[in-house]
């Protein structure tokens, strides 16, 4: 499903910074992988590259058979929209839109029929148990609820790949645990490939496979 071959990412400022160096990685469809490592080790860079938010300095990345490095901006966006769902640490909901509108956002961007959008958005909110909060703005929700809205949005098109960057990092431990449980549940139900960047050992332990990064290199790939 996901295949990285010799991927590096450098930032050229006053001095050259290496964020990722010569990484090879293969993730099969339906796998659940945690990515761990100290701050600055390249975890988020790796996730951004897999998600098509950033482009590698060298190497190739294939998602579902398509080489990301050869895609133009709009094709990359389409691939992101159709094949990848993002879950961020800071939720990244649009503050002026209510829950239903936030969830419906990718559907509108794809140009779906309004009636179909309404049905699908309601279905997604129900999936994360937030039907009663549909009309609320993000600022009226708790952290856990916001993350659940973000998860619902990420599932808009049932994407085969879900990428989560510190999904519990901004939540208390109790809420974090419930979000993790929800992600496990959705992974089981939807059979999506799930990659989770985390600092939290409990989250990492809950995944069948863990990839560790240090100083921009992949240093460990462990399956349980």
């Amino acid at each position: 499903m996901i295949r990285l071959f010799s991927v590096s990412r450098h930032f050229n400022g006053k001095r050259r910074v290496t964020a990722l160096e010569d990484v090879d990685l293969e993730v099969a469809r339906g796998e659940m992988v945690s990515i761990v490592g100290p701050s600055g080790s390249g975890k988020s860079t790796l996730l951004n590259l897999i998600g098509g938010l950033d482009r590698p300095s060298s190497g190739t990345i294939h998602i579902d058979g398509r080489d990301l490095t050869r895609l133009g901006d709009d094709d990359l966006t389409r691939l992101r929209r159709d094949k990848i769902g993002f879950i961020f640490q800071f939720f990244n909901l649009l503050p002026s839109l209510n829950c239903l509108e936030n969830v419906a956002l990718p559907l509108h961007l794809r140009g779906w029929d309004r009636r179909k959008i309404a049905l699908r958005a309601a279905e997604l909110l129900e999936m994360v148990n937030l039907t009663d909060r549909a009309g609320h703005l993000p600022e009226e929700l708790s952290g856990g609820e916001r993350q659940r809205v973000a998860i619902a949005r990420a599932l808009a098109f049932n994407p085969p790949v879900l990428l989560a960057d510190e999904p519990t990092g901004n939540l208390d431990s109790h809420t974090g645990a419930s979000i993790l449980a929800l992600m496990h549940d959705l992974h089981d139900r939807l059979d999506a490939t799930l990659l989770i960047v985390t600092h939290d050992p409990a989250v990492a332990q809950s995944c069948p496979r863990t990839v560790a990064l240090r100083d921009a290199r992949l240093v460990r790939d462990e399956r349980r």
Binding site: S44, N48, G51, L53, D54, D73, D74, T77, R78, R80, R81, D82, F86, F88, N92, L93, L94, P95, S96, L97, E101, A104, L105, P106, H108, L109, R110, R114, R153, A156
Partner: protein, 853 residues
């Protein structure tokens, strides 16, 4: 200073585009101010230089307005013991017909006596020296002409070269018999000057036995004041005896209305500059709150923070003003040409400024003005920055939201200002109160702008959302969440549009009024004019031509018109002599402003009264029955006002009197224009051909059909109201600058939001779409408010036109055509403004946007 270097400089460098846009407002205001003043000043200076050079050593000039006076006046002046030298002069421009040379100013002088006052500084060329050294040789040949070295070089002329000039008897060949060096007199009128014998000039211009003026030097030991008193006593009150420099003041008074309108434009541009500065600084303060918080936490005082922002304002003002002065000098070169053409077209006076001279005083004033405007714009944001609470500043929060209390306070202040604005319009004629009311109206609109913009954004949201559910809703939300960010731009564009609507409304009403005047008054079938345009009065027809014209087949009636500028109450007005009885009969549909149409013409025809134009009545505060005192060569003419009519032949105002009165008091039987009515069944084109054939080679004349005159007047009106198009350009520029500025900030503020949109599948076109829609929404809101405020502004403009500018009473006519045209223009400008910011939004780093805090 150190804070400026450590804090402000890195910020400005990081936001270079915004810093540049901020100063553009000041650049624009200062450039327009400098451009207008330099252009007008240069045209005026060129005129004064010409007057000075032509005056030579003359200390006084005797005139009686444009009609001039009889030759015998010269003898009376020369006989006075207080007078040392008195020489006659005729001065008028002629068309050279030479490509790119424009007019040539002819100075007709009496060479036998004139060289004691003027130094001709002639270049010798062998035997020819004798010709110019001996005035009798010059005089013996009436086709003699002396030209300047500059004019000769430009046109390849030498001694004995032939030059064709238009005379009253048609084009005639003249011979260059002298060339002046390009200094002193030779540099007058930009070198386009020629000297000829005064008696030849009388013939050329159809002056009869009259002079335009007498140049005088006092006798030795006699003061100028004594000399002047003696001449005035000898000639009576009908003559003006003034130093040559006073002619500059008369020219200046002609420039007055034009300058006032242009000054309004420059002040307005500066006003917009203040807004742009305010807008940018208000945004900078909002964005830099954490930075201000850190500075305050580290011990910076409120005064230091205030000084920091004011210092930035002063620097922006200084750089903007310097750039504005430079741009103004460039602009002045273009405007000087425009001013010259307006003066030529509207007043028949021309003076081309070849050199643009920037006086240190003007530059200092422009710099001070730009700096002051910048500081005014930065004052409120600087004060707000100083009031920042360090604890709150270091927390996240919504600083842009307008509080309910703030809104209420604004609304109360606006209501008070509205009441203050209406009172002078309805209840008082006081000029200061009226203008105070005007300012209050503008302030009221400014105070209400944020609230109204917010309401309109709420109103437009469903519409935008319906058009594009995501892009539209986000665009509207961006406006709703940050009203401060948008309202300064909306206010600037609104004011700009209001001014356009005001000017366009004035133009529309002016057109309608002029159209009615054309329909009811300018109804002859043909006009025979001595000049190619109807406002130049260099040439005059002799009265004998009337019978020659009348003898032509197809002519039913002829009206002789003689117009000339005279001094009246210290200003310049137009004196128009007409055949009143005939005019009354031929123009029965005129609607008088005051008095009975038949009665006023009857009294005027009997020589018992005059009729005045509405503009003169307004500008000089004259009423029915007031006695006018008009200085004429025969003495002081005193006649009551029997009627007031709308007449747009001259902006300074006109006095109409019967031809018999003019003949008696000015002893001038010439005419400038013949108004000709045809017999039934005669084609105007046929009679025109007959007139041209009859006078071919004998008379210089131009025959204009009625529709040609109408088109000519409407073209002049167009040129005059061309300023509303300049204003339109300024409005568009303001819209572009303001919207670009707002969007640049909006994109910076919405960086994360746009990043999310892209992350969840927003295509580049969709991201562009939301930015474009935001720009269009700003354009729509500005349009709605600007077109509304324009309706109120037009009320004031009409009142201003009546009270101060042209003395015209105009009907209120909202310029719907212009309003409709503004919709695509402004929305187009808004869209263009959004192009570059939208690209920035599309091309920004996605990962940085999502991590952005």
């Amino acid at each position: 200073m150190i804070l400026l270097k450590l804090i402000s400089w890195p910020y400005a460098r990081k936001h270079l585009l915004r810093a540049t846009l901020t100063t553009v407002g000041i650049v624009l205001g200062v450039a327009v101010f400098v451009g207008i003043h330099l252009a007008n000043g240069s045209v005026l200076a060129a005129f004064n230089r010409t007057v000075d050079r032509i005056a030579g050593k003359a200390q006084l000039q005797i005139t009686a307005g444009e009609p001039g006076f009889d030759e015998e006046v010269l003898e009376r002046v020369q006989a006075l013991p207080e007078v040392g030298v008195a020489v006659p002069a005729i001065e008028a421009p002629v068309e050279t017909g030479l490509k790119g040379q424009g007019n040539l100013l002819i100075l007709g002088v009496d060479m036998t006596g004139d060289r004691s006052l003027r130094d001709y500084d002639l270049e010798g060329e062998g035997e020819q020296e004798e010709v110019v050294e001996d005035p009798l040789v010059f005089l013996a040949q009436p086709d003699s002409l002396i030209v300047t070295r500059e004019f000769a070089s430009r046109n390849g002329l030498r001694i004995d070269s032939r030059l064709s000039l238009g005379t009253m008897e048609g084009p005639r060949q003249f011979t260059v018999r002298g060339i002046m060096r390009s200094e002193g007199l030779g540099a007058a009128f930009g070198g386009n000057l020629a000297v000829m014998d005064i008696y030849a000039a009388q013939k050329v211009f159809g002056r009869g036995r009259r002079f335009d003026r007498i140049d005088v030097a006092a006798a030795e030991g006699v003061s100028i004041a004594d000399c002047r008193r003696a001449i005035q006593a000898a000639l009576g009150p009908g003559f003006q005896i003034e130093p040559p420099s006073s002619r500059g003041k008369q020219f200046e008074s002609l420039l007055r209305v034009y300058s006032m309108l242009m000054n309004v434009n420059s002040l307005f541009a500066l006003f917009i500059g203040v807004f742009l500065i305010y807008n940018s600084f208000a945004i900078a303060v909002t964005q830099r709150r954490p930075e201000i918080g850190i500075l305050r936490a580290l011990g910076a005082t409120r005064g230091q923070i205030r000084a920091l922002f004011l210092g930035e304002g002063a620097l922006a003002g200084l750089f903007g003003s310097i750039a504005g002065v430079l741009a103004g000098i460039v602009m002045a070169r273009v405007l000087a040409g425009y001013t010259t053409s307006v003066m030529q077209g509207v007043y028949g006076v021309s003076e081309s400024a070849r050199e643009i001279e920037a006086s240190p005083g003007l530059i200092a004033a422009a710099l001070a003005m730009g700096m002051a405007a910048s500081l005014v714009g930065a004052f409120l944001p600087a004060r707000n920055a100083a009031r920042v609470d360090p604890v709150q500043a270091l927390q996240k929060g919504k600083y842009q939201v307008l509080t309910a209390g703030e809104n209420r306070a604004r609304r109360i202040a606006a209501a008070l200002l509205a009441a203050g604005a209406l009172t002078p319009l309805l209840f008082t004629r006081s000029r200061p109160a009226f203008y105070m009311g005007y300012v209050m109206m503008a302030l009221c609109a400014l105070l209400l702008t944020p609230t109204l913009a917010l309401w309109l954004a709420r109103l437009f949201r469903p519409l935008l959302r319906w058009i594009r559910p995501v892009e539209g809703a986000l665009a509207a939300d961006s406006l709703l969440q940050a009203p401060r960010r948008t309202s300064a731009t909306v206010a600037a564009v609104m004011l700009s549009l209001a001014l356009v609507i005001g000017l366009a409304g004035l133009a529309r009403a002016g057109y309608a009024a002029i159209q009615e005047w054309l329909d009811t008054t300018l109804n002859p079938d043909l006009y025979v004019s001595a000049s190619s345009n109807l406002v130049t009065r260099s040439y005059h027809f002799p009265d004998s031509m009337t019978s020659e014209l009348r003898a032509l087949e197809g002519v039913e009636e002829i009206q002789r018109v003689r117009s000339s500028r005279i001094l009246f109450r210290g200003g310049v007005v137009m004196l128009v002599s007409l055949e009143m009885e005939s005019i009354a009969r031929r123009t029965p549909r005129r609607r008088p402003v005051a008095g009975d149409l038949a009665a006023m013409h009857r009294l005027a025809a009997q020589g018992k009264a005059v009729i005045i134009s509405e503009s003169l009545a307004q500008l000089q505060n004259l009423r029915m029955g007031d006695i006018l005192e008009v200085a004429a060569p025969r003495g002081l003419l005193r006649l009551p006002v029997a009627g007031i009519l709308r007449d747009y032949s001259d902006q300074q105002g006109s006095i109409f009197l019967d031809r018999s009165v003019y003949l008696r008091w000015w002893n001038d039987s010439s005419a400038d224009i013949f108004r000709i009515y045809l017999k039934p069944g005669v084609r105007a084109e046929d009679l025109k051909a007959r007139i041209l054939e009859r006078f071919a080679g004998q008379r210089r004349l131009f025959v204009l059909l009625n529709h040609e005159v109408r088109e000519y007047i409407l073209r002049l009106t167009d040129q005059w109201f061309g300023m509303s198009y300049i204003q339109l350009a300024v409005a568009v520029l303001v819209a572009v600058l303001g919207i670009v500025n707002t969007l640049t900030v909006s994109i910076a503020d919405r960086r994360r939001e746009l990043g999310i949109l892209r992350a969840v599948g927003g295509l580049a076109a969709q991201i562009r779409g939301t930015i474009w829609m935001e720009a269009l929404a700003i354009g729509l809101i500005s349009l709605a408010l600007g077109l509304g405020l324009g309706a109120v502004n037009l009320l004031y403009d009409i009142e201003m036109a009546r009270r101060d500018f042209a003395g015209m009473t105009l009907d209120y006519r909202y310029p719907f055509g212009m309003a409709l045209a503004l919709v695509p223009i402004l929305l187009g400008a808004a869209w263009v403004s959004a192009l570059a910011p939208a690209e920035t939004a599309v091309r920004g780093s996605l990962t940085e946007a999502l991590e952005y805090e």
